[in-house]
């Protein structure tokens, strides 16, 4: 990949973001999943998207930077964006379990989780219809933004089995001789 660009996973929670993070790590990229360190959070709160963290890492995945993917595209030219998708009813079921298992007040830093959930989902509590709207909005927004730049956006459904064969050509890498790291698989 080019020297300047970064890799941004811009799929919502529970769409295979952990798997994507592990896969990027396996390909040799320095990847951070759910960047929520104090410095990054302070920068996001201050709407300063030129992240210090990106001086030492190649890739970020999960929702902290999702609302600002267009700013990242402008600030980090030649970056690659990966939108992880998932079949809607399975995504909703997973989000419901996620919200119930991890309510904001039980988080180590509740203010951070609250911030990221509100900025992405506009809600802190599971509501099926609302989250479905948010999901559709997000997919439409991302695909619209990259409509003329297919080489910069990979849409992949890790939960349905997409793996190295989709990711590696997109990043100009050879597929490693190990299974794709599907993580967090629900029984």
């Amino acid at each position: 990949m080019t020297s300047m660009g970064k890799i941004f996973g811009i799929g919502l929670s529970k769409t295979g973001t952990t798997s994507l993070d592990h896969a990027l790590t396996a390909l040799g990229f320095r990847s951070v999943h759910f960047a929520a360190d104090a410095q990054t959070f302070r920068q996001i709160e201050a709407a300063d998207y030129q992240l210090k963290l990106l001086e030492r890492v190649d890739a970020l995945t999960d929702i902290p930077l999702v609302p600002y993917f267009r700013q990242l595209d402008r600030l980090y030219p030649d970056s690659k964006f990966i939108l992880t998708l998932r079949e809607a009813s399975s995504w909703l079921a997973s989000m419901e379990r996620h919200y119930q298992a991890h309510p904001v007040h039980t988080a180590t830093r509740p203010e951070v989780i609250r911030y990221f959930r509100l900025a992405n989902y506009g809600s802190l509590t599971f509501n099926r219809e609302h989250l479905l709207d948010v999901y559709d909005d997000h997919v439409r927004r991302v695909t619209h933004y990259f409509r003329d730049r297919p080489q910069d956006l990979l849409v992949m459904n890790i939960c349905e089995g997409d793996g190295w064969e989709a990711l590696c050509p997109f990043l100009g890498k050879a597929a490693p001789p190990i299974p794709f790291p599907w993580a967090n698989r629900t029984e």
């Binding site: 267009r70 700013q71 509100l118 900025a119 599971f126 509501n127 609302h130 909005d137």
Partner: protein, 191 residues
């Protein structure tokens, strides 16, 4: 009337004027609801609002992220998207966020909730807010694309007034001046 009226324009697009105009038409209107009960309902994603048992209309951002839920829960409702010239909106929202940072508002938790849910940010960033402004308009127009009678897009700051609002609500056009509020003033919003 059947249904409710929802002002679903972003802050600084004439929401105070719209509020005053709806009141002039005899409606019970709440501008920027921030009472504890409504906040608790929104915090728990319970969109069947107690507040709407007492009022006809709600304006400004608290319900903006949920306008489609409102449409589903309150059939027959009318939606008013106030818009504004982008450059002038950006200047106005920047001034508002700088004049009223979360550290200086009376109810920071609630204001933070509303700002994050609607704008995805609590600090001004020109390109981000421009994206949000365009996203919101596109989302609303897309949702109502086949229902022109349920959505009014109105540029109050650009001079739109009774001549568009009254017909949309099935009301005779008033001959009194439209209540353009906050003209040239920046800091007197409800927060």
């Amino acid at each position: 009337m059947v249904g409710k009226i929802f002002g679903i324009g972003l802050s600084r697009t004439g929401t105070s004027s719209l509020t005053q105009a709806l009141r002039t038409l005899g409606l019970q209107v709440v501008h920027y609801p921030s009472d504890p009960e409504t906040y608790e309902q929104l915090r728990t994603a319970d969109f069947q609002l107690k507040l709407l048992e007492q009022v006809d209309a709600i304006t400004d951002i608290p319900l903006v992220p949920y306008f489609r839920q409102m449409d589903r829960l309150y059939p027959g409702s009318k939606f008013i998207l106030t818009v504004r010239d982008e450059a002038s909106w950006l200047a106005s929202i920047e001034q508002m966020l700088q004049a009223r940072p979360l550290s200086q508002v009376r109810i920071p938790e609630i204001i933070q909730f509303y700002r994050l849910s609607t704008y995805g940010a609590v600090a001004f960033h020109r390109e981000h807010f421009m994206d949000v402004f365009q996203d919101h308009k596109a989302r609303v127009m897309h949702y109502f694309r086949n229902r022109p009678k349920d959505l009014l897009v109105m540029d109050i700051c650009g001079g739109a007034g009774w001549e568009v609002l009254c017909p949309f609500l099935g009301h005779p056009v008033l001959s009194t001046p439209f209540p353009w509020e906050n003209r040239g003033r920046i800091l007197n919003d409800a927060r």
